[in-house]
Amino acid sequence: MTLLEVKGLRVEFSGREEPVRAVNGVDLEIERGEIVGLVGESGSGKTVTSLSILGLIRQPGRITAGSILLDGTDLRTLGPEQLRAIRGARVSYVPQSPRGALNPLLRIGKQMENILVSHGEGGRQATAELRRRTVEMIEAVGISDPQRALRAYPHELSGGMAQRAVIANAMILRPDLVIADEPTTGLDVTVQAQILDLFSERVREQGAGALLVTHDLGIVANYCTRIAVMYAGRIVETGPARAVFQRPRHPYTVGLLRSVPVLGQPLFSMPGQAPDLRALPSGCAFAARCANVLPECAAVPPPWREVAREAHRFLCHLEDGAPL
């Protein structure tokens, strides 16, 4: 059975004016053992999509449609208690800022023990057993002096060490699905590579599935098996990372890839900016910025197109996608 299956997800944020339609019909599947890269720019809905899976959309936000199936169980039908039992144990989260994810008043070891205890693993288990598991986990995230790290308060750790501790927290209950939202954005490039190597190794080793939310196409090309590109609340292209990077089809994906400076190639500068999510056009949301726009694009919703044999799909009026 598919580990995660999101179908027709819609999320709105209401205010005094027209509601902001942050997610407008997202379908997403994740299997065990794969890392899916969810790519998009700010406001594309990638973070809202991941928070929806975690059941963390709060007022004024609201899921208005769709289902989120974890091993066939729709998380939207569960109550707060059931969701709390699932979060951390079956679905866990690695946020962008490790500082925000760690309690500044508790030692790292205590925080890890609390996670175990709050999911019923304390109880009769001796303290020594809890200790053993935290040491094992902190070693597994590549911290060479585990005793010292477990005794440390978050502010005593460097950014890279703190993010390792957050990953340890996210993995200690051996979740089936890990959602990481820009897990290396605040880190230096040499540390970024360490953390991503470690993250993908842990995910594979534990046989979990992962959703890696990022704006960085370099990360997706190097660490993800599949990619989903979001624009204005919709996935506009998805497929195996190899197929999409070798022959991107959606004009937005093509533009995004060409916006990364590479020596000896002209830099492509995409005109304009993302549309207002309170007033989305009836047709394709990218039409106003698209270099390959057709007369029908602005008014008629684009259809899904399949690239034969590759599980590669894109949402566009152009039959073969943007020419390269």
């Binding site: 720019e41 700010s42 460097s158 950014g159 890279g160 060490m161 230096d188 490039v189 040499t190 540390v191 970024q192 590579a193 360490q194 190597d197 704006h215 960085d216 196409l217 370099g218 990360i219 997706v220 090309a221 190097n222 990372a241 190899r242 990077f245 070798q246 533009g255 995004l256 890839l257 916006s259 990364v260 400076p261 590479v262 020596l263 830099l267 492509f268 500068s269 995409m270 005109p271 900016q273 993302a274």
Partner: protein, 328 residues
Amino acid sequence: MSVLLEVAGLTKRFPVRGGAVHAVSDVSFTIEEGESLGLVGESGSGKTTTGRCILRLVEPTAGTVRFRGRDITALGRRDLRAARADMQVVFQEPYESLNPRMTVHQIVEEHLLLHRPELSKADRAAQVAELLDKVSLRSEHGRRRPHELSGGQQQRVGIARAIATDPAFLVLDEPTSSLDVSVRAQILELLLGLQRDLGLSYLFISHDLSTIQYSCTRVAVMYLGRIVEVGPTREVFEEPRHPYTRALLSALLRPDVDQSVSRIQLEGEIPSAITLPPGCAFASRCPVAIGACVEAVPELRRVAGDAQRAACLRAEEIPALMATPGPG
């Protein structure tokens, strides 16, 4: 070409309890008229402090900064203010660097009021309109306030303000880092276009090697307050002579599924700038360090070609010792 900016022995220490943060130590480089020098490094490497010391937004502890031969560090307040008409800065966070109470027109006009008091109101308005046009903003943007603009538009305002007094030199401090990928390319193109049209020189500070590779003819790599390698971008990126430059280049993740770079895995992170290690600051993480590395700070010396210099005792052996990262 003639030298526009000459930085020599620039040093900045911030006093803290029990010592000092050695943010910048003995940094020297030159920038020629119309040239872009890229300054790369990770957080804490001292690249931002270097840029700020040059403009004296932060007072350097030691060293000289000569702009067209005149020592900026020796100027009094009035002369410094006048000199800043010629040397300006674009900040990383456009929103935080713009006064939220002022309109775009007022923000861009402010530098003209300060540096060109002789202009009439009508002339100033005409100049502001021209500046907005140069950064591809429409005249109605002038009436808006920063929060009404997108991140890319805010950065355009920051750039219009920086070029208002017709400067020769700009410090660009991560000008595209906080922007979305597609907007980054727009702003980078704008900066490169302005450089061509106005003959500007840039100190382009960035942690993003692709951006530097694309926009700068020369590059200096900083680690823990010192320049460890400097030279023509092409040569430094193709055959780096400092182990840190190699590691940095090999950690660069390109949007390419066939990237076949053997990554140089560095242990640990950048050490504290309060208690500097003796000798080479990179030695604690360096995969090819030898005993002599911790004895004295290695000199930044010529190692290849005319202009490529590296601060490494083993610079000559580095290409043989470490796998070639190569620029993709």
